[in-house]
């Protein structure tokens, strides 16, 4: 009697008799992520920030954000201008909305460039090894040895100068947006390249890569279809955190007056010169600064949650 009950108990655990099918990888990650309270908080704040920056443009037209009412310079936050007005009488709230679009856009695009360079360099170095590896890693190391802020300043000067304005989606952007995206991408790929290289070095030793090679799979296919998908977790985490760093980098470089040029607003360049209004107009720097902090904080929470959720060694369901 005892033995049969045990036997039937074991039998119910067989996969084809389970009520629910086993979780897919995506479901597993989502379940773990959902349990990470801070990460969920980060995700919600991030969504709200996107709604604020992109939904806000339905309420205020862009011309309003750039409209200077010189009779209302540096006016205190009021019902009409909830965040006050700036030095030439523009509405600060409308500018944080349009500035947010550019800042978030710069963050994501810069990370795209970072990923393209970082993954290419890391993949080539890790896959081929030898001479290619040592050349690429020397470049990476050299770039890492110069503090990022110095590189950003020098590159901002290098690619700066007269840049024509860009018309996109019926709106005009300062050409410096493209330059900033480029230089942030160019100065931030090194850590990602190292991560990808390390992943490639370990994944390529697996038997399934040997099998792929034995069946005559092309190198490109091995890199992109076999190794890269197996290294994706740390890349996703690093790219997520990269957005926060890119937004911060934009803010720093714009704060120094070398970033995106007006009239295009970003959260960073709204802070340029805020020093002079420390006492007389704190709303000038408080709101853009707070928005940057909220963005960076929620992305860091998100990245932390993703790191735990994507961890293949985690057994939590």
């Amino acid at each position: 009697m005892e033995t049969t009950r045990q036997a039937s108990h074991v039998a119910t655990l067989l996969p084809d008799e389970l009520d629910t099918p086993p979780f897919s990888l995506g479901q597993l990650v989502w379940r773990r992520f959902r349990r990470h309270k801070m990460a969920m908080f980060g995700a919600v704040v991030m969504i709200l920030l996107f709604v604020y920056s992109f939904g806000g443009s339905l309420v205020f037209p862009e011309s309003y954000a750039n409209f200077a009412d010189t009779s209302l310079r540096l006016s205190l936050p009021s019902a009409q201008h909830p965040f006050g007005t700036d030095t030439i009488g523009r509405d600060v709230m409308a500018r944080t909305i349009y500035g947010g679009q550019i800042s978030l856009f710069i963050g994501m695009l810069a990370v795209l460039i970072e990923c393209i360079i970082g993954i290419t360099v890391g993949a080539l170095a890790g896959y081929y090894g030898g001479f290619v590896d040592s050349i690429l890693m020397r470049i990476t190391e050299a770039m890492l040895n110069i503090p990022e802020i110095f590189l950003l300043i020098v590159m901002a000067k290098f690619f700066g100068g007269e840049i024509p304005e860009i018309d996109l989606f019926g709106r005009t952007f300062s050409g410096s947006v493209v330059v900033i995206v480029l230089i942030i991408g160019l100065t931030s790929w090194m850590y990602l390249a190292r991560i990808v290289r390390a992943q490639f070095l370990s994944v390529k030793e697996n038997d399934f890569i040997l099998a792929a090679r034995a069946t005559g799979t092309s190198t490109r296919e091995i890199i992109f279809r076999h190794i890269l998908p197996n290294s994706i977790a740390p890349i996703i985490v690093s790219a997520t955190l990269g957005i926060a760093n890119a937004i911060l980098a934009e803010a720093y470089i714009s704060f120094l007056g070398l970033g995106v040029q007006p009239p295009t607003a970003t959260w960073g360049n709204m802070l340029d010169g805020a020093n002079n209004y420390l006492e007389s107009a704190p709303w000038l720097w408080f709101f853009p600064g707070l928005l940057i902090l909220m963005t960076v904080l929620s992305i860091n929470f998100l990245g932390d949650g993703l790191r735990d959720a994507l961890d293949p060694h985690s057994r939590a369901v």
């Binding site: 040895n145 503090p147 110095f150 020098v154 926060a244 720093y252 704060f255 420390l278 006492e279 904080l297």
Partner: protein, 344 residues
């Protein structure tokens, strides 16, 4: 060990060459030094050409780089523009310790940097001490009370500190401690500069002016250090020798501060060693906000006026410091932790 040090030093040299090459190429397009020279505009084309020749900017990049690296006192250059090299050079090159002269005030680059270096160092070393002491305190506390309400609160606050842009915390602390305190009639802190010109550069004045910058720098760097201490402390507290210490009846305080902390604090040497050279470059943004006359502000001022020798000098000194400190960190770490052996 000495073979290992030698090997690391030999690896560092080509790396620095490589860095200098990348930077030098970048320098070629950061702006036209002649256009902003001394704040005057050079209008006549002949003057412009002559100035470029005198500064050696008419030469191809590789020659400029060679002159920067090894100097030009072994060769003659053409200064009057007649196509015949007649004047012998005076530069001795970086390899012989000559970083050139500033285009702005004709002072040697090392002298220009030397004037500002101590200002950056006192600010940064003070911050580093505050950071390390604070991080040890908070890290140990939250490790010993893992997952308590206080630990969770600290973790959240550290996350905020870690995500905080330096200018935001700087502006907020300036607003609170200088503007609002003044308004409320409380003793308030100074916001900009290193000392009050009327009071003169006394130790008290400098210390008083350091409070806000040091606080701002500490708050943002503090988080990473504390997290690090917390995790090494948690790891150490689970070790067998801690159990042995508990088993033989040692006091908890002794276990924590003598047995555990000594080993938990060891890995922070690595973090500090890698951070210190970055401090040398100064927090560019912090120095700008607080108008602190250090290396970071020097860099910004000279970038604005395209003073190439000074920019190159600062960047190379920082890069050299990074390379040297990486080697030093490895050596010190091996010396502190006898389990580590560098072979080969």
């Amino acid at each position: 060990m000495s073979r290992y040090i030698l090997k690391r030093l030999l690896q560092g040299i080509p790396l620095l060459f490589f860095i200098s090459l990348i930077l030098f190429l970048l320098m070629m397009n950061v702006g036209d030094p002649v256009a902003t020279l001394g704040g005057r505009r050079v209008t006549r084309k002949a003057d412009y050409e002559r100035l470029r020749r005198q500064l050696g900017l008419d030469q191809p990049v590789y020659i400029q780089y060679a002159f920067w690296l090894v100097g030009n006192d072994w060769t003659k250059t053409d200064l009057d523009g007649d196509g015949i090299a007649e004047t012998s050079g005076t530069r001795r090159g970086v390899l012989r310790g000559d970083f050139g002269v500033s285009l702005l005030n004709r002072k040697p680059v090392l002298e220009v940097i030397g004037e500002r270096l101590p200002n950056t160092l006192i600010l940064m070393l003070a911050s580093e001490i505050v950071i390390i002491l604070g991080a040890l305190l908070v890290g140990v506390y939250s490790a010993l009370r893992q997952y308590s309400a206080m630990d969770n609160l600290i973790t959240t606050l550290l996350f905020i500190g870690y995500s905080m842009p330096i200018f935001f915390i700087a502006l907020m602390s300036m607003y609170l401690f200088a503007v609002l305190f003044k308004r409320w009639g409380l003793p308030y802190l100074p916001t900009v500069g290193m000392f009050d010109p009327q009071a003169g550069k006394t130790t008290m004045q400098v210390l008083w002016h350091m409070v806000l910058p040091v606080t701002s720098i500490s708050i943002i760097s503090f988080a990473a250090y504390s997290r690090y201490i917390r995790s090494t402390m948690l790891e150490v507290m689970g070790q067998d020798y801690i159990r042995t210490a508990k088993a033989k009846g040692l006091q908890r305080r002794e276990i924590v501060f003598v047995h555990a902390l000594k080993n938990a604090a060891l890995p922070i040497v690595t973090v500090v060693g890698l951070d210190l050279p970055l401090l040398l470059g100064g927090a560019v943004v912090t120095e700008r906000i607080f108008a602190w006359p250090g290396m970071g502000r020097l860099f910004l001022d000279h970038v604005d006026r395209v003073d190439l020798p000074v920019i190159m000098g600062i960047l190379m000194l920082v890069a050299m410091a990074v390379v040297v400190f990486q080697i030093l960190t490895d050596i010190v770490y091996a010396w502190l932790d006898p389990r580590i052996r560098y072979e080969k």
